[in-house]
Amino acid sequence: MSINMHQQTINITLASDPKQICVARTAVETFSEREGFAKEQSEQIGLAVNEAVANVIKHGYHGQTDQPIKITMEMTTIEDRSCLKIVMRDHGRQVDPDCIKGRDLDEVRPGGLGVHLMRTVMDQVEYRCLAEGGMELTMLKFRDT
């Protein structure tokens, strides 16, 4: 794993190993709280990233533990609103973004909650297929929400 800081942008590169999920989550939580999000909000943002990374490991890389996951986070301004922007890229299996959605929660069964949690916590969650292969996930959290 590597963590690089450039001005106000933090870049994290981790292997698709479940052992590293907690480090990415902690980094995101710390960055969020430092940028003015409340502690509870920061923990929720960390959870969203946790879920996103887990999905990449499980579905994108089919459990392989040696593939790269790159996370970039920075504060930005969108329509005059301060916003945390988190971008995650992988080289894993591509999926139609329209097919990535939460499931019906009335059905009590294990699994399938990750996307729901991400969409509940973050203000925007968007997937796209990369031309070079893999997926890109962009999540936004406005500071005033």
């Binding site: 999920i21 907690c22 887990a54 909650l113």
Partner: protein, 77 residues
């Protein structure tokens, strides 16, 4: 090289206490994709002992992701 997560060095189950009418499983630390399989195995073992009831104490779990929740739902079912 340690095989443990850099965040947690102990298993997710602190204690399993068998009472007259229930088995209490006390959890500790964060439960995520890395540690939820250990939780699953512990619950499988407890459920296999056919206790009248299984109580999971997660009061000392500061973070649980959907894999942990899925493990609990699986145990419930």
């Amino acid at each position: 090289m340690s095989s443990e997560s850099p965040c947690e060095q102990t298993g997710p189950v602190r204690d399993v206490q068998k009472l007259d009418d229930a088995t209490v499983v006390t959890l500790q630390g964060e439960i995520d994709m890395y540690r939820s399989p250990q939780l699953r195995q512990a619950l499988v073992d407890v459920i296999g002992e056919k206790s009248a009831a299984v109580v999971v104490d997660a009061s000392d779990v500061p973070h649980m992701d959907s894999s942990g929740v899925a493990t609990l739902v699986e145990a419930l079912q």
